[in-house]
């Protein structure tokens, strides 16, 4: 990257930081209710707390996996970090610089963070040649002159493993895996320091998924990218990411180095999630017992009080029903939000 690094490589200060970030969605009221409200009546607004007071930090060059089930708020958090959705509360910054302006009409203030979306069929304009899609942003932001744009784009296509001559093609001429490569090239052509990837391999077949994961590994090595990788797939995250953060109903319940969290989860939800994942069974006649989490995800419209997980937790006690557990350190570099999380060095309870 041509841009100088904002912090020295060994600096432990976070490169990307989210501080006290929340995001609420209040659906607009139907007309009748709006009239009642205007006349001074009280209307109950069904507000979704998609993201509820999250602190998150990424060091430069780090890959953080954000894991959770549908509705846990991982996409909302990712969009806020990418600067395309303003937070309701809190601040998001890259190297100390806010990614969005405040005020009534927030705008993205930086091109240093870019996003790769899940569905490469929806995220590329079907009527633009991919070369034009790729050069639009960089030309506008003067990362490259119009005269050099084509060779610039061809270079990025090559970087993601596509034939540079494809620049003249339209999205429909590509397979799903190739389109995701185009979407990655589009993000990289903006020369970002941070890439937010929202389920970038979820819609791909396993053999194609493996090719794209290999591409991410290569790009991480070559470009010193800081990566936020959102996925519901624990094995994909373990493969690609240094650290992992587990989300449940708008909150982070556990985070730490991926290998440690997988080997020794401290939050009962992390444990349950790991137990739920089907494993490849290679023994003849093996009896497979899943240990499914009982119950279902509560509605984010009315999350349970205290610890959101208490209704499904095998070790919940009265305290969990009233008191929200803080995300607190449990081991070097690790944190968990559970009243009963085992803490290294603490005497057993």
């Amino acid at each position: 990257m041509s841009r100088p690094a904002a912090s020295p490589p060994h600096d432990e200060a976070p490169f990307v930081s989210a501080t006290g970030v929340s995001r609420r969605f209040a659906p607009s009221l139907p007309l009748g209710d709006r009239i009642v409200a205007a006349l001074g009546g009280t209307m109950e607004r069904r507000t979704v707390h998609a993201v509820d007071g999250i602190d998150l930090a990424l060091r430069k060059g780090e890959a953080l996996g954000l894991v959770g089930e549908s509705g846990c708020g991982k996409t909302t958090l990712g969009r806020m970090l990418a600067g395309i959705l303003p937070p309701s509360d809190g601040r998001i910054a890259i190297a100390g610089q806010a990614v969005m302006t405040g005020g009534a009409h927030p705008r993205k203030t930086t091109t240093r963070v870019q996003m790769v979306f899940q569905d490469p069929f929806a995220s590329l304009d079907p009527r633009m040649r991919i070369g034009d899609t790729l050069m639009e942003g960089p030309v506008h932001h003067r990362l490259v002159s119009r005269a050099n744009a084509l060779s610039y784009v061809r270079n990025w296509l090559e970087q993601v493993g596509l034939d540079p001559d494809y620049a003249g093609r339209y999205p429909h001429q590509f397979s799903g895996g190739q389109r995701q490569r185009v979407a990655i090239a589009r993000a990289l052509a903006m020369q970002p320091d941070v890439l937010v990837c929202d389920e970038p391999v979820a819609s791909l077949d396993v053999s194609i998924q493996a090719q794209i994961l290999n591409l991410f590994l290569k790009l991480r090595r070559e470009l010193d990218l800081t990566l936020l990788f959102i996925s519901h797939d624990l094995s994909v995250v373990r493969h690609l990411c240094d650290r992992v953060a587990i989300m449940y109903l708008g909150r982070i319940v556990e985070e730490g180095p991926a290998a440690d969290v997988y080997a020794d989860p401290r939050h009962p939800y992390t444990q349950a999630l790991l137990d739920s994942v089907p494993k490849l069974v290679l023994e003849d006649g093996a009896q497979v017992h899943f240990k499914p989490i009982r119950g279902e995800l509560p509605s984010p419209l009315a999350p349970p009080p205290g610890c959101h997980f208490h209704g499904r937790c095998p070790i919940a006690e009265d305290r969990c029903r009233v008191e929200r557990p803080a995300l607190r350190p449990v081991a070097p570099g690790r944190a968990a939000a559970c009243h009963f999380a085992r803490i290294d060095g603490a005497p057993p309870a």
Binding site: G177, S207, A258, P278, L280
Partner: protein, 323 residues
């Protein structure tokens, strides 16, 4: 050996399109025993879903079954009169689809649509029908079934909707359930619940299952036997754990090596190069040859199916076997 419950021989299903004939299923043969769970695995476009649809006559034009037989206890279902097939479909063979919000009628209560499904094959008095519905809903883990019968599909979560779809499939105590990616749209924690319940239900009732999935791990924990599909053909089949531990076909091995769970974190995955061939223009010979690391001149000729004991494969140069 007794006749299997279902025997499929050389099944082909083709779709006529403007560009030509898509050979979605291209000479597929397999059998399912009573109470057996067969896992049908493959990537998109491999023909696994079309195979499932073909078994119970759910192929509409421009698709057609171009050849082969599907025998349920010796009786061929292909070419059977529609009325005779309707008497079997939903009663002796039923199907669970991927997306439960597409299979349930949004304007009928769950109870009403279950009663319709019941009445299609059986005359029961009101109270008898009610008892049956409550029984089958509680077997699939719907809490408070008597009250929930009056609810509409949108009032259930995705996992609960899929449970209802499974309950409808089990309504008449079928001998075979074809489940097409039934947990793909669900979260892992819900998927684990459904897998556990489906497997124990199949075991308790002696129902055979054809479990169609792209997910090797799910299949490995469910299926007694596995059939791996590629480009409309079954390229390898056999007892699940044996096939996954020691695959004969390079495509099966490629799939296994593509899984991040089987690799060391952060290392390059041994992915399969290239993409699946277009079913409009299948390469001559082995359809996997253009992506196969071990392809040789002989692979331009179609490999025959080789059966060794319980296992079968279509490869000129099978892995793990003396050449």
């Amino acid at each position: 050996m007794t006749t299997p419950l279902l025997e499929v021989i050389d099944l082909s299903t083709h779709f006529a399109t403007r560009e030509g004939v898509v050979k979605a299923v291209n000479g597929v043969s397999f059998s399912v025993g009573r109470g057996e769970i067969l896992g049908l695995v493959g990537e998109s476009g491999s023909g696994k879903s079309v195979t499932g649809f073909s078994l119970i006559g759910l192929i509409d034009p421009p698709g057609r079954i171009a050849g082969g037989t599907v025998k349920l206890e010796g009786r061929d279902l292909i070419g059977m009169a529609p009325a005779a097939l309707r008497a079997i479909r939903g009663k002796r063979i039923s199907m669970v689809f991927q997306d439960p919000s597409m299979t349930l009628n949004p304007v009928l209560t769950v109870g009403d649509q279950m009663r319709l499904a019941l009445r299609a094959h059986q005359r029961l008095s009101g109270p008898e029908a009610q008892r049956r519905l409550i029984d089958v809903l509680s077997r699939v883990g719907i809490p408070d079934p008597a009250r929930r019968l009056e609810a509409y599909p949108h009032q259930f979560s995705g996992g609960m909707r899929q449970r209802i779809a499974i309950a409808i499939a089990l309504l008449h105590g079928p001998e075979l359930v074809i489940a097409d990616e039934p947990t793909t749209a669900l979260d892992v924690s819900i998927q684990a619940q459904i897998l556990t319940e489906m497997k124990s239900l199949a075991r308790e009732t002696g129902t055979a299952l054809i479990w169609i999935s792209h997910d090797l791990a799910t299949i490995s924990s469910m299926a007694d036997r596995i059939a791996v599909m590629y480009a409309g053909r079954i390229v390898e089949s056999g007892p699940t754990a044996q096939v996954l531990r020691d695959p004969r076909h390079p495509y099966t091995r490629g799939l296994l090596e593509s899984l991040p769970a089987t690799a060391t974190a952060g290392t390059e995955l041994r992915s399969i190069p290239g993409t699946t061939p277009s079913l409009l223009r299948l390469p001559p010979g082995c359809p996997f040859a253009p992506r196969c690391p071990g392809a040789q001149a002989l692979c331009a000729a179609e490999p025959p199916e080789t059966a060794v004991g319980a296992r079968a494969y279509r490869c000129h140069f099978p892995l793990g076997a003396a050449a």
